[in-house]
């Protein structure tokens, strides 16, 4: 541990001097929080809709009103002819169009089947799917409502509920757990903890060692009595401490700004974060033993970061991935940690619930540390 304090002090001096490091440490999390917490909203609403209402009576107005009330749609235009109706969709001004025929209200009142034509722009599959589901569900509900009232009138009903009123035969009672409002920030912000920690730590640790090699200062250190342990811990501990600072910033922002409460044990979360921080320090050390210049360190870091964002389940659900990609995700420590953070923060999971993820992270940690320390030692000799 010879020279530990000297290197530790010096490393903090570097961090203090280096504006880009400070910017990187504290601005990047803020930017990412804004992007993933606020800007990216995967729930789709206010799909622009045009309505060509040839009927114009109470029943057709009720239908349009019901569509708007779902908040999935926003009526952006009410053209008077077929041509401008179609043009609105073709030009992209509207993503969906509802055509209500002239005899709509009349047919309904006569208990005849009425037709409503719905045109949906399928080019953005996510929007189209939402639009299709919303319209289908809404119209079905309205139909069932009418069917029930008609049934009541003729004293026939498919089923009755506890109080004897006419009801549907099967009553589905869905309840959304953990994130009842389906806020996408609840999904993204906890995962972001893992991604931010990894990104900042990976770049900074690999940089700090590679820079010394590139500048020749590492060579200079080797001819001094500085020990391996002193060098390693003196260089890595400052970044581990900064990682804890980052963790607290993101946690405070998560609870304070995004109102995502930590349902589980904070202690468990901090403990497992330490394990993750240790793993990423090892990963940074590993990169520093492979890269000989800072540029190479950036490239190797991206090689780790990209799959970490895309394959870890942070952005896209892992269950949708092809088998090979799904398996590859298990090679990334961040995959386990995203699962752990979401488990503890959103579902209030404890160590037993998360046993498999904790074990996976532990395996990654041990493997990475063994590999990186072996390479680091070999390079010093």
């Amino acid at each position: 541990m010879n020279g530990f304090w000297a290197i530790l002090t010096k490393e903090f001096a570097h961090i203090r001097r280096d504006r880009t490091t400070i910017f990187f440490m504290f601005m990047v999390p803020v930017i990412q929080l804004i992007i993933f917490g606020v800007a990216i909203d995967v729930t789709i609403d206010n799909i622009p809709l045009v309505v060509l209402d040839l009927d114009g009576r109470a029943e057709s107005r009720r239908l349009v009103q019901a569509l708007e009330n779902t908040q999935s749609f926003q009526v952006v235009g009410r053209p008077y002819d077929q041509e401008s109706f179609r043009r609105a969709i073709r030009s992209g001004r509207a993503k969906a169009g509802v055509l209500i025929p002239a005899e709509y209200s009349g047919r309904l009142l006569r208990n005849e089947q009425a037709e409503v034509q719905v045109l949906i722009d399928g080019s953005d599959s996510q929007i189209a799917t939402t639009a299709l589901n919303t319209v289908t569900l809404l119209v079905q509900n309205m139909s069932v409502g009418r069917a029930k009232s008609v049934g009541e009138a003729v004293h026939f009903t498919p089923a009755r509920n506890a109080s004897g009123a006419s009801a549907l035969p099967i009553d589905v009672r869905p309840r959304l757990l953990y994130n009842p409002d389906l806020e996408s920030s609840h999904f993204f912000v906890p995962g972001l903890i893992a991604v931010i920690l990894q990104m900042v730590l990976l770049f900074l640790t690999s940089f700090s060692i590679v820079r010394e090699r590139e500048l020749g200062t590492l060579e200079q250190l080797f001819v001094t009595p500085v020990g391996r342990g002193g060098l390693l811990f003196g260089k890595l501990i400052p970044y581990a401490l900064m990682a804890y600072g980052e963790l607290l910033i993101v946690l405070v922002a998560m609870v304070g700004i995004f109102h995502v409460p930590i349902s589980g044990s904070l202690l468990l979360l901090l403990g497992l974060s330490s394990l993750f921080i240790l793993t990423v320090l090892g990963l940074g050390l590993l990169i520093s033993t492979i890269a000989s210049t800072q540029l190479e360190a950036v490239q190797f870091s991206f090689l780790v970061m990209l799959p970490s964002v895309l394959l870890s389940g942070f952005m896209f659900p892992r269950s949708e991935m092809p088998l090979v990609i799904w398996l590859a995700g298990y090679l990334l420590p961040v995959t386990y940690f995203v699962e752990i953070v979401r488990g503890v923060v959103l579902r209030g999971a404890d160590a037993v619930d998360l046993a498999s993820s904790i074990l996976g992270l532990l395996c990654c940690c041990v493997a990475i540390l063994i590999l990186s320390l072996a390479r680091f030692r070999k390079q010093l000799d």
Binding site: G3, A6, H14, D18, L215, G216, T217, Q220, V223, T224
Partner: protein, 320 residues
């Protein structure tokens, strides 16, 4: 200091280092007395840095033995590291730390006690004259001051030996002169120095010089010994300095003349090594193509002569 004073501070015996199949250094045997300045010369890639790295204890020898201050380079590398200073050819201090922060960092690395640190800082600052630049960032110093700062850092723990790997490469002549004055001062204080250089004038200032070529130490001795060496100027040969109007033509002629063993241009002069039996006056007349204004005088060989002649001889020996 309680340990015995060694008169020979650096000693190597058949020191060899291989990198895979490549023999970087082959059976180097030399010794450097206390308070002397040893100059190591040789082309790039001859193994100068490899030798220094082995003596500093960062590179293990493949075979042979070496010791610094009585400590074996293989077994006692850590003991050596505490007692030596090292200054590399490139600026290897922290550019984003100020001069004084760099000095303090090395003071901490060598574990100098807080009480003594002040005293040592003052000593190296006074010696190197870095005082006015203490708060300047390392990266903002000029070449010469960077080297002085590097020297201050290398001296903070009062080392008995300093290894300097091309300390004056790329700095201006005045700074170079100043640095050498500093080295002499240190040498007077009893510090032993091991310097690599490409400059002949620096080699002249060393108490002892060695010339490495292809991993072999082909020349070793004091500058005077070498210049008077029979291998450089044999008994049956004489060395002259010739000045004339058309030097390139004279050089071309010299190379084809039988009595001339060697000819080299030295600035505005031509140095020729001739058979002792030849008459220098006639020789020079022939050499210069009858230039009546040509002058010549007998000269002693320079160190450059020594290295050129001996390395050519070595190449010829290796080729045959």
């Amino acid at each position: 200091m309680s340990e015995p004073i060694f008169d020979t501070v650096i000693r190597t015996d058949q020191l060899t280092r291989d990198f895979g199949d490549f023999r970087a250094l082959s059976e180097i045997t030399l010794d450097v007395p206390r308070a002397s300045i040893f100059g190591l010369l040789g082309p790039n890639g001859a193994g100068k840095s490899t030798l220094i790295r082995m003596l500093c204890g960062v590179l293990k020898p493949t075979s042979g033995r070496g010791s610094v201050l009585g400590f074996d380079v293989r077994a006692d590398a850590e003991a050596i590291k505490r007692r030596i200073g090292y200054m590399s050819q490139r600026f290897s201090l922290y550019a984003d730390l100020s001069a004084i922060e760099n000095i303090r960092f090395y003071a901490m690395i060598y574990g100098i006690s807080t009480e003594r640190r002040r005293e040592r800082e003052d000593a190296v600052i006074a010696l190197t004259g870095i005082g006015p630049y203490l708060d300047r960032l390392g990266g903002h110093l000029s070449g010469g001051w960077k080297q002085r700062l590097a020297l201050a850092c290398a001296l903070i723990h009062e080392p008995d030996v300093i290894f300097l790997d091309e300390p004056t490469a790329g700095i201006d002549p005045v700074a170079r002169r100043d640095l050498w004055d500093l080295l002499f001062e240190l040498s007077h204080q009893g510090v032993t120095m091991f310097v690599t250089t490409h400059y002949m004038d620096e080699a002249e200032r060393c108490s002892k010089v060695g010339y490495l070529q292809g991993g072999e130490l082909i020349v070793l001795g004091t500058p005077n010994e070498l210049k008077n060496s029979k291998r450089v100027t044999p008994d049956d040969a004489r060395r002259y300095e010739v000045s004339c109007r058309d030097l390139p033509a004279a050089l071309a002629r010299a190379k084809s003349m039988k009595a001339v063993r060697d000819a080299t241009l030295f600035g505005p002069m031509l140095h020729v090594l001739t058979d002792a039996s030849a008459n220098p006056g006639e020789l020079v007349l022939e050499l210069t193509g009858g230039d009546s204004g040509a002058e010549f005088r007998s000269v002693a060989p320079t160190l450059e002569d020594v290295f050129v002649i001996l390395s050519r001889a070595e190449e010829a020996r290796a080729a045959s």
